[in-house]
């Protein structure tokens, strides 16, 4: 049999013609996606990348003491450096004094080792009187700290362009004068508590939401349409309502003179002049976040339950299972995809929650997001805010990734 090529209408072999058409379709699809893709890349993904960059960026000081750091490269930091380092330091500091920019390095160096502030200020004041040659002795004469390893070592540690110091600070660690990583003093270990609280709140809110959502999702999925549509509004109305409206309604409910406290007093659980604090602590954060995030748990579970045929439960029962066994062996495993999606959504949303904890959380109910906002807006330590943000981002993406690996986003099978 001859293997004559089949030709399409334009005279090309069918194979080539088809490939051409496929390529055209591919390009068409790519062109449609391209605008949004580049929009998100430029205004969203790159800025997040830049934020990560900012969290390790320490080039400001590197640029201000360039000669000192260059000569320090050859210094092993075991004993005091030699004359060249001090000579370079003299040149750098003279230049900084001339341009009146030495203030900027003070804060940075003081962060590395306290005491640099007075040291630099005093040295800069006297630097014009320095004579040429023998700078090391002159420096130590101005201030004896220039002859101490603790200070010279700290100076060398500030040299690299990149630093992970902000990340260490985010988990209550720091570099000690010898350059080892150590814990910060006990009374300053605040960030670990914050991370633990954030995880704790996210975990418990997810659990509460699941426990509350499962029965009502089941009811919604099994009720006849005309009733379930009405009840669905109870889930959807909070879902569509402004977050601030819902938070303010919790502020009304939980305040000291609010309806819930009135009820507690009426039932005689607490006396009128001893009303419990339900808000501005972690209780407020828990209750309000659970109610606000509940629809995000109900909807995915509901949509999975909707697809489960009721005959499966009947079959389970007819094969001798009690309703409990039938539920546990048949129904529950089928709902796992919905539970997974709901838990993932609620956990990810609550781990980065900001508004509600800030309004009803008080001091003991604030989460990591609130700290990031504080460093962005009040302390203006943007590098630290970026580092905390990066750690949170890594956490969220890890949860997402693990979930995707373990159960898969759309096809989840169990048992």
């Amino acid at each position: 049999m001859s293997t004559e090529k089949i030709l399409s209408s334009d005279g090309l072999p069918l194979e080539v013609s088809l490939r051409k058409a496929e390529r055209r379709n591919k390009i068409k699809a790519l062109l449609l996606v391209a605008p949004l893709f580049f929009f998100i890349l430029i205004i969203y993904v790159f800025p997040i990348g830049e934020m990560l960059f900012r969290s390790i960026d320490d080039r400001k000081i590197t640029g201000m003491l360039p000669k000192t750091f260059k000569t320090m490269e050859n210094w092993d930091a075991k004993e005091l450096p030699g004359e060249p380092v001090y000579a370079a330091l003299y040149e750098d500091l003279s230049y900084l004094k001339e341009t009146k920019t030495y203030g900027k390095i003070i804060a940075r160096l003081n962060y590395e080792k306290s005491g640099f502030s007075s040291l630099i200020k005093k040295t800069v004041r006297k630097i014009n009187k320095f004579e040429e040659g023998n700078y090391k002795e002159q420096f130590i004469e101005v201030h004896k700290k220039w002859g101490q390893m603790a200070y010279m070592g700290a100076l060398k540690r500030a040299a690299p362009k990149w630093t992970f110091a902000k990340y260490l600070k985010g988990v209550d660690l720091k570099y000690d004068p010898e350059g080892e990583i150590v814990q910060v003093p006990e009374d300053r270990r605040i960030h670990k508590i914050l991370w633990m609280r954030t995880l704790n709140v996210a975990l418990w809110v997810t659990i509460f939401c699941f426990v509350l959502a499962y029965p009502i999702a089941h009811l919604l999925a099994t009720l006849p349409m005309k009733y379930s549509n009405l009840l669905m509004i109870c889930v959807l109305l909070p879902f569509w309502t402004s977050l601030l409206v819902r938070t303010s309604s919790w502020m009304v409910l939980l305040q000291q003179q609010g309806p819930i406290n009135d009820l507690i007093v009426m039932l005689g659980i607490a006396s009128d002049d001893n009303r419990p604090e339900l808000m501005y602590n972690v209780i407020g954060t828990f209750v309000a976040m659970t109610q606000i995030l509940l629809p995000f748990m109900v909807l995915p579970i509901y949509s999975v339950m909707k697809t489960i045929s009721p005959s499966l439960m009947r079959a389970g029962k007819s094969l001798g299972g009690t309703p409990l066994v039938a539920f546990y062996k048949v129904y529950f495993p089928l709902t796992v995809p919905g539970i997974g999606a709901g838990c993932l959504l609620v956990f990810i949303l609550s781990i980065g929650y900001y508004i509600t904890p800030a309004l009803v959380g008080g001091a003991s109910g604030t989460l990591i997001s609130n700290t990031i906002a504080y460093h962005m807006k009040s302390s203006l330590d943007w590098a630290f805010a970026s580092a905390l943000g990066a750690m949170l981002l890594i956490g969220v993406l890890t949860v997402y990734w693990i979930y995707n690996k373990l159960v898969g986003i759309d096809n989840i099978k169990l048992g």
């Binding site: 893709f37 309502t241 997001s369």
Partner: protein
């Protein structure tokens, strides 16, 4: 959900316990919203139920806080409402166009790296808002768009597109592509086919995506907190500022208006969802 007569007693007890639990959860979900309504009509300046209010004394109710919201001296709500509407309007248009076009490409079976691209496009929904806010703030400051409407609108387009992409892709998953091929074979150009055939069919998905984008922008406060200057204040920002100081009846009045708005949006979204399911031939 009535039970047959032969149901054993302990099942009956379990069944009614279950219904009670469900009732309590529904109450927990919806009741907090309804606390706000009566308080916004409070005649006094306090945010709790006075004895007169509980007795339904007409004197205990008034519209003064609505008056204060609209005509009050030095009140920020007028400007905030104007800004919120402008920002949400343009952000919705932007997200809807970009999201719908991208969804059309993503639904094509010729699209390479579909999963990865989709993951990137919906990432603004996964990443905590505080991180998005921080990152976008640095960017807008660098390009000189901080404290401008444009900057906020661009940020809100980013936050709104994932919803449009998701809803439109879902609508397109049941889309019969032979109708567009039929149009093409009858001599219609691609733009004409899209406007006359595809768009009307996927319109419910597009509109519900647009509603999501609108609500996202209208309700968004974290990113705006970073980007807004004094001239760009929005309703959520004003509520946030007000709530940090103290609860005021005027805020209750604003909240009531927002609840009414969200009820209307909910009804629209539900109608659209049903229409879309009917159009796609999903029978329930």
């Amino acid at each position: 959900m009535s039970l047959p007569n032969y149901t054993p007693l302990h099942y009956k007890i379990w069944h009614y316990t279950y219904l009670t639990i469900c009732g309590l959860v529904f109450f927990f979900l919806i009741a907090p919203l309804f606390v706000i309504l009566p308080l916004s009509f409070n005649a006094e300046q306090y945010i709790h139920f006075s004895a007169k209010m509980i007795a339904l004394d007409p004197e205990a109710f008034s519209l003064r806080w609505y008056q204060d919201m609209i005509w009050g001296t030095k009140n920020p709500w007028g400007l905030a409402a104007k800004n919120s509407i402008i920002i949400a309007f343009f952000a919705t248009i932007g997200s809807t166009i970009l999201g719908t076009v991208a969804a059309l490409g993503l639904s094509s079976r010729h699209m390479p790296y579909k999963a990865a691209v989709m993951a990137l496009l919906i990432s603004p929904m996964i990443v905590p808002l505080i991180i998005s806010g921080t990152a976008i703030f640095f960017f807008m400051a660098k390009v000189g768009l901080s404290a401008t409407h444009t900057g906020i609108i661009l940020a809100h387009i980013i936050l709104g597109t994932p919803f449009v992409v998701i809803t439109v892709t879902a609508t397109l998953s049941g889309f019969d592509h032979s109708v567009t091929r039929a149009a093409a074979s009858l001599g219609s150009n691609p733009v004409n086919t899209f406007m006359k055939i595809t768009l009307p069919l996927i319109l419910p998905g597009v509109i519900s995506g647009a509603l999501f984008a609108f609500v996202t922008s209208f309700d968004e406060v974290v990113v705006v907190l970073f980007l807004a200057g004094l001239d760009n204040t929005t309703i959520p920002i004003q509520m946030w500022v007000g709530l940090r100081e103290q609860l005021s009846p005027t805020i209750m009045a604003v909240a009531t208006c927002l609840i009414i708005m969200s009820t209307l949006i909910l009804l629209t979204a539900e109608l659209l969802r049903r229409r879309s399911e009917r159009l796609r031939g999903i029978n329930r």
